[in-house]
């Protein structure tokens, strides 16, 4: 009757061999290819380091001016610009300037990487039902697997540092932009597509003149989500050697520094709110043609 009281297992011996086999094989793989893969990411690393240095080393009034200018370009909203300036002044006042600049650097690079991978992937997905059926579960896994689990192979492969941190952030942050690009393109009015076809458009013209512009608001919602999810990964990324606001948070957790944790946490929240509002306003402005009738 032991069948009912104990679930069948593959046995301790074979389970150990099974796990060992995977580990050894992966170690072998990372020994052979780790350097090559790391080399592949070198340009990205250089760009990230350059941006971080630029942000940290530039005089702070200039940085705030540029950030406020970007907020203005994005939102055309004085309140948001004023809020941005106040937030960054406070961040500096509480001694979090450097970490904040590092965080902005990695978020920016991660977002760029996600956009440049996610949008083309989303476009491909929108063109083939098979591809959509294949990629969707992968995206589901990327969003639900605990980040610590995929940190393990990344660390094994690339060690600790900025690049593995960046990859971890991107794995977590890329799904929304892929999904929403796909969705946005699939939602484009069939009649508009029929019209552009009837005038003899090539499939590239169809994509660039009709599908992408009409999907842009949805795609932009994806960019916004990607930025938010990248920010959410800041603390976890700091565990594998990414500098930024996550580092003091981590220190605060292990040493029970309440104030330090709160302050840095609030700085992350402030960044999130600024990025979110500015990018949302920008997304709205992309839909100029949807303004109400004003004949």
């Amino acid at each position: 009757m032991s069948f009912f009281s104990e679930i069948p297992t593959m046995g301790r011996e074979s389970l150990r061999d099974f796990k060992k086999g995977i580990d050894l094989n992966f170690k072998e793989f990372s020994r052979n290819y780790g350097d090559g893969i790391e080399g592949f990411f070198d340009p990205l690393l250089m760009f990230l380091v350059w941006l971080e240095k630029l942000l940290v080393n530039s005089p702070w009034p200039l940085v705030i001016l540029v950030l406020a200018g970007l907020a203005w370009i994005g939102s055309r909203n004085w309140k948001l610009v004023a809020g941005t300036i106040v937030c960054f002044m406070l961040i500096g006042y509480f001694g979090m300037w450097k970490d904040t600049m590092s965080t902005i650097a990695i978020i920016s690079v991660a977002t760029l990487v996600c956009i440049s991978i996610g949008i083309p992937l989303g476009i491909l997905m929108s063109r083939s039902r098979k591809l959509e059926a294949g990629i969707t579960p992968i995206l589901d896994v990327m969003q639900t697997v605990p980040s610590f689990v995929y940190l393990i192979p990344i660390i094994m492969l690339l060690g600790i540092g900025k690049v593995p941190g960046l990859i971890a952030v991107c794995i977590y942050a890329v799904p929304p932009i892929v999904r929403l690009t796909n969705l946005g393109i699939r939602e484009v009015d069939k009649e508009c597509l029929e019209a552009v076809d009837s005038f003899g458009a090539t499939s590239w013209q169809r994509l660039t003149r009709v599908q992408m512009p009409l999907a842009l608001p949805t795609i932009f919602a994806g960019v916004n989500q990607t930025i938010m999810m990248a920010l959410a990964m800041v603390v976890i990324a700091s565990m594998i050697g990414v500098r930024g606001l996550g580092v003091p948070v981590l220190r605060a957790v292990s040493n029970q520094y309440l104030a330090l944790g709160m302050l840095n946490g609030l700085a992350i929240v402030a960044l999130a709110i600024i990025f979110d509002r500015v990018s949302q306003q920008y997304g709205k402005r992309l839909q100029k043609h949807r303004e109400g009738r004003n004949l």
Binding site: C192, E194, F199, G200, R209, L214, H289, R293
Partner: protein, 340 residues
């Protein structure tokens, strides 16, 4: 006929997983309902044959589900047929490869859609320019043509607006201008005016007829409205359940419907408003037509019926635009036509 522009030859369209198999059943005489019930395929079009004359307006009429929108999409191959041929100027559209088809769509056909299908993110000017921009024409050339047609449909001043800012009638003028800017010899109009209010629809019909008098395109016009069909059609084809019931001149359809479906359709039409003197006259064959009440050949019955009642003429003489007597009408014939 030598001046056939578009020849549609035994065209079949069946929607479903195995249309080729279903085609065999249809050819054996299986009807639309049976095909759907027993074989799970939808009969879109069955054995359609039409010769569309060059420079004429061919109306294709039918209720929703009759296959008329499916039929028009075969001409520029937005839909591929299950069997049959579509010949434009004698060349088989179905044989075109991708590039040839694209070129054909760019330079030979232009389409106007029921729900306008304008690009919401483009201004009116950009919408009207769309066809030429896809062709990669020069900017100033595009601008000139686009502005010319925007003006022709009476929308100057609206170039920089977006479609959402315009009323339905104005949006469809944009649709019309967009199609005309391509300068194609074939114009495909898929229920182009059906979504518009009656008054605006009448305006648009007049715009189309005026433009046609000037441009002489081959127009294929889809509608579910018989009055509209009679007003603009040089010829009318009536579709029912994917089968063509009757094809012919408007007056023939009106006065001698071939099937019950068509006669039900034309029953309630106000004939005095649709028929012109020339449609019902007896041709002059040497008899003396000097005495009688003169009417123009293009006058509608409605416009001279009051005079007939008041003057009680023995004979109504039909004249062409040069005041030459070309035929005659008796009041007996007139009352027969109106009573029928």
């Amino acid at each position: 006929m030598s001046d056939t522009k578009i020849k549609i030859d035994s065209l079949y369209k069946i929607f479903g997983n195995k249309p080729k198999e279903a085609l065999e059943y249809v050819k054996q005489g299986v009807g639309k309902d049976e095909l759907l019930e027993k074989h799970n395929h939808v009969l879109g079009l069955s054995d359609i044959n039409i010769d569309i004359e060059d420079k004429s307006i061919q109306v294709i009429m039918g209720l929703s589900g009759s296959g008329k929108s499916t039929l028009i999409r075969h001409i520029n191959r937005l839909i591929e047929p299950t069997a049959g041929n579509v010949l434009v100027d004698g060349s088989d559209v179905l044989q075109y490869d991708e590039a040839t088809l694209r070129d054909f769509r760019r330079t030979r056909t232009a389409m106007v859609f029921q729900r306008f299908a304008l690009m919401p993110h483009m201004t009116i000017l950009k919408n009207v320019s769309l066809g030429l921009e896809l062709q990669g024409k020069k900017d100033d050339e595009i601008l000139n043509s686009a502005m010319k047609w925007i003006e022709k449909v009476g929308l100057n001043g609206y170039e920089d607006r977006y479609p959402q800012h315009l009323s339905g009638g104005m949006q469809q003028r944009v649709g019309l201008a967009r199609a005309l800017t391509n300068d194609t010899d074939i114009l495909l109009m898929d229920e182009a005016f059906s979504a518009l209010d009656p008054l605006i629809r009448k305006d648009m019909q007049d715009i189309l007829l005026n433009l046609q008098a000037e441009l002489h395109k081959t127009v294929v016009f889809i509608t579910h409205d018989l009055d509209e069909a009679l007003k603009i059609g040089d010829r009318i084809a009536i579709l029912k359940d994917g089968i063509m019931d009757q094809e012919g001149l408007p007056v023939d359809i009106l006065l001698s419907p071939k099937t019950e479906y068509v006669s039900n359709f034309v029953e309630d039409v106000n004939r005095s408003r649709v028929l012109k003197a020339k449609h019902i006259m007896e041709k002059a064959n040497g008899s003396d037509l000097s005495k009688g009440m003169p009417v123009d050949e293009n006058d509608f019955i409605e416009s001279f019926i009051d005079r007939v009642v008041a003057e009680k003429p023995e004979l109504i003489v039909v004249q062409d635009s040069d005041k030459k007597n070309i035929g005659s009408l008796t009041s007996k014939r007139l009352s027969e036509v109106l009573k029928k």
